[in-house]
Amino acid sequence: MPVPALDQLWVYLSASPLLHLLVTLLAFMGASYLNRLLGGTPFLHPVVLTIALIIGFLTLTDTDYATYFEGAQFIHFLLGPATVALAIPLYDYRERVRRMLVPILLSCVAGIVTAVTSAVGVAMLMGASRETVLTLSPKSVTSPIAMGIVEKLGGIPSLAAGMVLITGSLGCALGPVIFRLVRVRDPSVQGFTMGLAAHGFGTAYSFSSIGAVAGAFAGLAMGLTGLLTAFILPPLVHLFGL
């Protein structure tokens, strides 16, 4: 009887971590390919596309997120060491960073304060719930750090990861337009700004579309923003009475 056998095989496979680990990798490859086919449009970022594909698959197979995460946690776990690894680009550009330390720190703080106050302010004006406001507050920070911050604040870490991703792809789409509007041409400034406002997405974008120096500055901004936001954000959010 091939039908029940296949059925049992599916039950067995979907209960093991293997299937969803494989689904994640395949969806990522498929989405990257699809994005290239579409001319690398920033409006359909490969990661956003990957997530949509996987959610579609899970909905079709009637799988819940907890079951999916059993397998995907192996990839998720690597976010920790990847965050630690951000020290490497920081170390590589330490000379440049030392020379530009004051402008870098001041612009980083200005950027973080803008990101947090505008996110919290606009969300509150629009009447979002407290949980949503807290979850949106670190949207410019790379997701492992954002999730840690949101967890400590009392927001929803997994939703924060989603908000961070959307922010990242928005940053890649808006960045070039904004740079033209404010007439900023310096690639190190552009890279730094992309890394600050759009974390890993902005960093990848800077490397591929602006240049190596922009990429390095983006990596620096991403690490520095993550680090400083973790300290600046909680007191800043408390100013709003949250």
């Binding site: 995907a72 630690v84 041409r185």
Partner: protein
């Protein structure tokens, strides 16, 4: 073996970070403190060991893939997103545009008198 050594350094720093966060009750995620630990370690060591660079840059190259499992978690919150749909969308667009504009403006103003790095000249013609 260098790859394993590199990975061990990354995990070791994360581990130290977690211990420091719990021991000192810091309001920061463990891996962030781990990043500071690694940076201090590199400053003392004076160079990035090859294995560490390979594993670290490998992880950073696929950083966006690592976001996927957590990102799929958005499906659990569809109801919450539906309830706050417009606040979320408007906040993300307005705040991201503002952050980009302010950061770029402040930084280019602060660095306006700085001498250019000759290594950067080639990239000047980019918009």
């Amino acid at each position: 073996m260098p790859l394993i050594a590199g990975m061990s350094v990354l995990l070791g720093c994360q581990f130290l970070g977690e211990i420091l966060v719990h021991g000192l009750q810091l309001p920061v995620p463990g891996p962030v403190v781990g990043m500071v630990v690694l940076l201090v370690g590199l400053m003392i060591n004076g160079r990035v060991p090859t294995g560490l660079r390979t594993s670290g840059e490998g992880l950073l190259r696929y950083l966006t893939l690592l976001f996927v499992p957590a990102g799929v978690g958005i499906m659990v919150h569809f109801d919450l997103i539906k309830a706050d749909f417009w606040p979320i969308i408007v906040t993300l667009v307005v705040s991201t545009a503002l952050t980009l504009a302010v950061t770029a403006k402040v930084m280019s103003w602060l660095t306006r008198s700085m001498p250019r790095d000759p290594r950067d000249e080639w990239r000047e013609e980019r918009p």
